[in-house]
């Protein structure tokens, strides 16, 4: 059996494209919009999200038989919060400058609906290994959309990538400030959602 046919493999790959959390399920877009004006912030945020999604999925899955149904949301939030505190402390220690700008958004990983959604929809029903892969898949699906948006926003808005000026920036580059401002984020995400949805609809055989 090929990897992509196993339960975990399907979950991992499905999250990347067909069930992409950002543009297919419209989840987790708060931070998708907020941290994408600089690629560096985005990469850090994505790392934090993949870590949290993978490990909280794993933990929820391991504990799924011992968590009482009535309080499971609360328990899941607390599991997620524990991992987010680890990420938050790590970023605060290693990247204090970045923590100043995206600090609140790191805390907001707790309320990122992708993680809660995966824990509730997948990890609470499936064994540990597929759940871990599902969490990684959801994190990567999110990261891939964010990185695309961030590359465009930083390149068009500041004329840089990861803080390094693009070649010829001062000669012909017009810094398109609106891209790093809030409206630019909405427009970029809308475009990505448009392309992504159209592609998936086409692949599924005709638009509805």
């Amino acid at each position: 059996m090929a990897f992509k046919d196993t339960l975990g493999g399907r979950a991992l790959i499905g999250n990347l494209w067909r069930d992409n959390p950002v543009f297919r399920q419209v989840l987790g877009i708060c931070s998708a919009l907020a941290v994408t004006n600089l690629l560096k912030n985005t990469l850090l945020m994505c790392g934090g999200l993949v870590f949290t999604a993978a490990l909280s999925n794993l933990t929820v899955s391991l504990l799924r038989k011992s968590i009482p149904k009535q309080v499971r949301m609360m328990v899941q939030v607390l599991i997620i919060a524990a991992y987010v505190i680890i990420v938050d402390t790590f970023i605060r220690a290693q990247f204090p400058d970045i923590h100043k700008t995206i600090g609140p958004y790191v805390g907001l990983i707790i309320t990122n609906c992708i993680i809660m959604g995966r824990a509730e929809a997948f990890a609470s029903k499936n064994p540990a290994w597929p759940s871990l892969l599902d969490g990684i898949g959801a994190g990567l699906g999110y990261s891939f959309v964010l990185i695309v948006i961030a590359v465009f926003r930083e390149a068009l808005g500041f004329g840089t990538l990861l803080g390094i000026p693009l070649p010829g920036r001062d000669i012909w580059w017009y810094q398109w400030t609106i891209m790093v401002m809030p409206p630019g984020a909405f427009f970029m995400l809308a475009l990505v959602a448009w392309f992504g949805n159209s592609y998936v609809l086409k692949k599924e055989g005709g638009a509805k």
């Binding site: 939030v77 987010v84 401002m181 427009f187 995400l189 448009w194």
Partner: protein, 208 residues
């Protein structure tokens, strides 16, 4: 304890003006949804109808106002003296969850029709990042007293309410229009949000 928090602030001249500026900034220039991108999930999902948007909007105003105030008190008088600031994420989320539960019970009692139309989104206010976000952004502003936090929470809630009501009005108008399949739903909503955000950027000249 509350009085002690208010008194030094009252002695300071211009408290009223400070509070008005905080309110206007929170509601318009730093609009929690259009400038900080928080609470997008429920914004996109619930903004189809004016009536439910108003209901959810008021619930959010209520919850942000009081959770900001309670969290400020807990942070200033419990967490800072005990040096347990790293637990702030867990404490905040528990306060919010408890408060949302309360709101849910109140709405169910007094307006069952609103309760059913909000459905799953009412408990999901708990993971609405706007609310946790207000508490986290509040901590970034160092000279905030109790009243400042209360007004900041209220202003942020009002900002969210204004944004979702604007969106609901527009979406009721475009319901029948022809929109490309890939853009339908989240895509077009994001584009309109971008245009509204563009209008709100103009407010930034109003308050420094």
């Amino acid at each position: 304890m509350i009085l002690a928090a208010i008194q030094p602030a009252v002695a300071e001249p211009g408290l009223f003006v400070q509070l008005i500026v905080i309110f206007l900034a929170a509601a318009f220039t730093e609009n929690i949804l259009l400038a900080r991108f928080l609470g997008m999930c429920s914004f996109l999902a619930i903004s189809r109808q004016m009536k439910t948007s108003l209901g959810l909007g008021f619930a959010v105003v209520f919850v942000t106002t009081f959770t900001a105030a309670i969290n400020w008190l807990l942070h200033t008088y419990v967490m800072v003296p005990l040096h347990i600031e790293f637990l702030e994420l867990i404490v905040f989320i528990v306060v919010i969850a408890a408060f949302v539960q309360l709101v849910e019970m109140v709405i169910e009692r007094f307006s069952p029709s609103l309760y059913f139309s909000l459905g799953i989104f009412l408990p999901l206010i708990t993971v609405n990042c706007a609310i946790l976000g207000v508490s986290l952004f509040m901590l970034n502003k160092e000279d905030f007293g109790f009243l400042h936090s209360l007004v900041f929470g209220f202003g942020s809630g009002i900002g969210w309410l204004v944004a979702i009501v604007l969106m609901a009005g527009i979406r009721e108008q475009i319901k029948e229009d022809k929109i490309p399949a890939g853009l339908r739903g989240s895509g077009i909503t994001l584009i309109i949000t971008g245009i509204i955000a563009l209008a709100f950027v103009a407010f930034s000249g109003m308050i420094k």
